[in-house]
Symmetry: C2
Subunit: 373 residues, 2 copies
Amino acid sequence: MLDKNSSTQNISGYFQLEPVGSKLADLETPVPVIDVRIAHRNLVRWQEHCDKQGLKNRPHIKTHKLAGFAKLQLALGAHGVTVQKLGEAEAMAAHGVSDMLLTFNVVGESKLRRLAALNSRADMKVVADSEMVVRGLQKAAQASGKALSVFVECDTGMGRNGVQSPAAATSLANLIAQTDGLHFDGLMTYPKVGLRREAQAFLAKAKRAIFAEGLDVPVVTSGGTPDMWKDDDLEGIDEYRVGTYIYNDRSLVERGVCGFEDCALTVLSTVVSRPIPNRAMIDAGSKALTSDLLGLTGYGVARESNFSRVYDVSEEHGFLDVSAMPNALQVGNQVRIVPNHVCPVSNLFDKVVLIDGERVLGAVRVDARGAVT
Amino acid sequence: MLDKNSSTQNISGYFQLEPVGSKLADLETPVPVIDVRIAHRNLVRWQEHCDKQGLKNRPHIKTHKLAGFAKLQLALGAHGVTVQKLGEAEAMAAHGVSDMLLTFNVVGESKLRRLAALNSRADMKVVADSEMVVRGLQKAAQASGKALSVFVECDTGMGRNGVQSPAAATSLANLIAQTDGLHFDGLMTYPKVGLRREAQAFLAKAKRAIFAEGLDVPVVTSGGTPDMWKDDDLEGIDEYRVGTYIYNDRSLVERGVCGFEDCALTVLSTVVSRPIPNRAMIDAGSKALTSDLLGLTGYGVARESNFSRVYDVSEEHGFLDVSAMPNALQVGNQVRIVPNHVCPVSNLFDKVVLIDGERVLGAVRVDARGAVT
């Protein structure tokens, strides 16, 4: 089952590649380049860990937004994928991905119609954290003529969406179970980084209370790449959702979750100006790297300047600190930037380029780019 | 010449509108909605000011990325547009826009070929701040069989691209003037906010030195929305480039450049969760609002909650502070967010929606979205 064949040919088989030359120097910049062997290694490592732990792996496609990688994740042993928006689910369904957990409340007539259409042709699971959301989901299930699986989203410390207590989770689980067309599928949370133990305690308490009502809790699902390797907090968790782990990024390196050698996606860019010895201006700004800081200083680091920082960005300019190597990098040289936060970077580009080391394999369309509704 | 007809019908005529319903409640969210009367008023006000000052107006299309608005700006009296990337120029040229200043060094064989193709069919002006860039431009001009107009980019305090001194500007102007196929067209700068007077002094000194070499300096071009209304620093400036002024945003309101009533673009979003009285969760996160702060606290403000703040964002979640009106806003209600920085917001969406007050006119494709190369 586990497709551990890491040959470039095997991995490329999951994608419709467009020719863009064979060398990095052939590429127009800025463009994200994804080393498929590193990505594959990241996927295999986590899948093997999940298999060993008896943990179900439900990777989040919001990071890569590529049907090819979703299918590779499934081939490696993931038992489904996670999506954040209907548009992402539609893009994946168009490529035959079926088992999807949509971890965002679906609200509004028009979106509920889209959910109904999706539920007719795919195996959709959704979430709710209020009666109003549940009432909407009921309509979608009825319109699709097929039951809809619903998880109760629990706010276990993140302070975002979710019911606020195990008692509220129990009450909403009861409502779902009693609603025609809906099936109560379990509990969902996205814990705050470093609070997974608190999350686990909340979920365990809710699960006991729901059992006491005579209901089953088929799946308890949690997630998050920063805490993914901390086994001791996983008690009671059946399923884990991780997104960033496929590519990794500077924020995860700084947190000690991985090394720069595990970062599969870098933003290839070109030095366009060398106005002073300490500054190289590159063509990747906030419209390529985003302005996500995640608590870091600067907007990314360049592999070619010993991981020195992109210390500022305009929309199309990156300001690279080259004070440690003032004679390096001339106009026309390429640099590869490890971005702070890789997920929103994919979402900026219509196409990304797959590579194997220095070899360019081809460009692929980002299937769910901009799928924000 | 000045198309001051602010009727919705007239403005809509510049766009290919796709039907998406007639009311805001019909729209799926998040989506940027642009009030065309406010945008038109912003454009007319600035054009009239430029006409009165004898200042040439060369608006930057990076903010709206829409050929329709570029054509409206030209109809109102702009004598050309500014673009930041070749892809933006190509998207505008495809809709018949011709007079374009590309204010970003064009570097690399492949991009120089694209520039040559553009120069054959449009009236292209470009910039340079080093001999290497000039040598590339020479090739592009030769390949296009047509002279290319080149401005010297001057770093007048921004610390970004640009020659570092009036003497360096003079030397590069000489090189351009002596290079076959290139025409020296003048000086270009993007001054740091609040340093326009320093910029003007740099440019004046460079201009005198270049005159002393026996060269003409046809145009001195500066730009920036935050300082656009400060007439006293404009001495010696022939042309002004502004982008954000068409839509405006929270950063400009906070700087006193405009009021909220002048913000033409807001991000329509929906309340999807009301977990606690003080917090409304909306479906616009960093993939809709960006994480640009521009020195502000929070990621935007909601018109419907008395301009209270989106105090945090995840990729698809916005955290709206409703502590001042804890009983307002229920799941399903729409809110309109004034983003901190409007330019990168347009770039996230394949389509935006034009409105007139509460009336929806239609959706338009963002012609140059993602045109990052």
